[in-house]
Amino acid sequence: MSASPVTIIVFIALFVFVALLGLFGSRWRAGDLSQLHEWGLGGRSFGTLITWFLLGGDLYTAYTFIAVPALMFGAGAAGFFAVPYATLMYPLLFLAFPRLWSVASRHGYITAADFVRGRFGHRGLALAVAVTGLVAVMPYIALQLVGMQVVIAALGLNYNITVPLLGTVSVPLISAFAVLAAFTYTSGLRGTALIAVVKDLLVYITVLAAIIIIPAQLGGYGKVFASVPPAQLLLPPAQGHSLGAGFGYVTLALGSLLALFLYPHSVTGILSSSSRNVIRRNAIVLPAYSIALALIALLGFMAIAAGVKAMPEYAEGFKAFGNNFAVPALFLHMFPAWFAGFAFAAIAIGALMPASIMAIACGNLFTRNIFKEYLAPNCQPQTEAKVAKLVAFIAKLGALFFVLELQTSYAIQLQLLGGIWICQTLPAVLIGLYWRLDPRGLLAGWAAGIGAGTWMVAELGFKSSTYSLHILGWTIPCYAAISALVLNLIVSWVVTLILRAASVAPTRDETVAEDYV
C-alpha cells in the first residue's frame, strides 16, 4: 500500500512550511519568553481572531476528525453525538469562562489549579485538580500521535529503523515528533497560534472540497444516506422501562462538553485571550467549527457509500487501524493525488498543533502547581519558564513512548477514563466560579467521583463509557462521567453541610466579588 508520489510531495512540502512557521513564531509579537506567562499563555495577548483560530484548532483535534467519522462509519447515528457536544459547549463558554478569565488575570493565575488554590486556600484540593489534569491530558497527546500514525500509514511511508531500547520505530513519526518538540520549546504558545491559522485554513478547504466533490461522485446525499444500514440511521427507540439510547446520547454529549472545558489545554487557550469580550465573541463565532465537524462526521457515511472497506488496497490499513482508517481511505479513493496530500497535511498538522498546546498546558500545570508549590517555592520566574519547557518536552516524550511501546487500544481506553476523571474537577473549578463549597467536601466528592467513574468503566471492561443504572425499576443508560459527577456533587455538598454544622474553621479565599466581573 503506497500513495502516489504527488500526494507525498504535497504532504511533505506543507509539513515543512508549517514547521518553519512554528520555529519562527517566537519573533511574532515578541515577548520575553523566559517568563512563564509569555511562553505558556502568549502573554495573554490574543484578540478575537487569533483566539478563534487557536481555540478552534485546540478543541477540534485531528483525533476528532478521524474518530468521529470512524464512529459514524461503524456505529451510525450514535456517532453524531459530536454535534450536540460541539454545539452546547458554547452557551457555557459564554456564561462561565469570562469569569474565569477575569479572576485569572487579576491574580496572575495560569492554570485551573492556580484558581482553585487561591479560591479555596487548600493545597490538597489544588494538587488533586492539577494531577487530574496532567493524568487526563497525557493519553490525549498520545491519541494525536495515533492520528499522525494513521496518516503516515495511508501515505505508505513505512520507513522503520531499529533503535536500542525502543525497538522498531517509524522514521516519519519520529520526525514529526522532533518538529513538534522543537517549535513548542522555542516559541511556546505563539508558534502554536501561528500554526493554528494554517491548520484551520487547510481543514476548511479540505472539508469544503469533501462535501462538494464526494457526494457528487456518489450520486448526492440521498444516495449516501440510502447506503447506510437502516438500523444505524437513527438511534434505537426507547422500549419499556428504559430511557433508551437517546438518554445515553445526550448524557455523552453533555459529559464530553463539560470535560472538554476542564482539560488543561482548553483552559490555556481560553486564558491566553486578551479580554473577556474576546471569549464572549468567540462563543458566537466558534460554532463555525461545529458545522465543519458535523460535515466531517458525515464523511463516515460517505465512506460506507463509497464501499472503501471492501477494497483490497485498503485492507491492510483497516486491519491496522480499524474504522479509524475510513476517512484516509475515502480521501485516497475520491480525491486527486495532490489534493489527498493536502488533506492528509491538514490532518497531520491538526494533530501537531493541539499536541503542542496540550504539552504547554502540562508544563504550566506541573511548574505552577507541583514544582513551585512543593519543590521550589522561591524559584525565579526564569526557572519557572525553564522547568515548564522541559516538562512539555517530557510529556511529549511520554506520549511518543506510549504510542510506540503499548497498544493503541490502551491510549484510547485511558482517554476514555481521562474524560471521566477530568469531569470530577467541575465542582471545584466551574461551580467554584459561582459558589464556594468547603474544599474538604470538594476533595471528598472528587475522590468519590473518580472512584465511581473508574469502577463503572471497569465493569464495562474498558470498552464503553455508557453505564446503565437501574433505579426504581427503570433502566437509565448514562455516560459514566455524568453519573459520577452527580455522586461527586452530592458528596461535596453533604460534607460541606456537615463541616458547617460542626463549625469547622473555614479556609481562606483570596479572591473578592469584584475579581469575577
Binding site: 447515528a77 453524531f80 454535534v83 450536540p84 460541539a86 454545539t87 452546547l88 458554547y90 452557551p91 459564554f94 456564561l95 448526492g220 446525499y221 440521498g222 444516495k223 449516501v224 444516506f225 440510502a226 440511521l233 437513527l234 438511534l235 427507540p237 426507547a238 433508551g244 437517546g246 438518554f247 446520547y249 445526550v250 454529549a253 464572549r280 465573541r281 462563543a283 458566537i284 463565532v285 460554532p287 461545529s290 458545522i291 458535523a294 458525515l298 466560579l433 459561582y434 459558589w435 464556594r436 453541610l497 458547617r500 454544622a501 460542626a502 463549625s503 469547622v504 473555614p506 479565599d509 479572591t511 473578592v512 466579588a513 469584584e514 469575577y516 466581573v517
Partner: protein, 80 residues
C-alpha cells in the same frame, strides 16, 4: 442563611437575574428532546430529519447567544 453556628461568607457576586438568560437554555432543550428529532421524515436534499435538525441547531445556538451578548454589552456600557 445559617448552617449551625458558623455563617459562611460567599464572596462571589450576585447579579440580578434577567429573563434574557433564558435564551441560553433553548439549545439544551432542542438537543435533549431526542424522541422528537429521532426520525427520518421530513428529509431535506435527502438528509434525514435527525441530521439536519441537529445541524440547524448549531447555527440557532449561536443565534440564541446574540441577544444575551447585546444585553450584557448595554448593561456594561451603562456602568460607570
Amino acid at each position: 442563611m445559617s448552617w449551625g453556628t458558623h455563617v459562611y461568607e460567599d464572596k462571589a457576586p450576585r447579579r440580578k437575574f434577567s429573563p434574557v438568560y433564558l435564551f441560553l437554555l433553548i439549545p439544551y432543550i432542542a438537543f435533549a428532546w431526542v424522541p422528537f428529532y429521532n426520525r427520518i421524515a421530513p428529509e431535506i436534499f435527502g438528509i434525514p430529519f435527525f441530521y439536519w435538525w441537529q445541524m440547524a441547531w448549531i447555527i440557532l445556538t449561536a443565534v440564541c447567544i446574540v441577544p444575551v451578548y447585546l444585553w450584557q454589552e448595554r448593561r456594561d456600557g451603562d456602568r460607570p
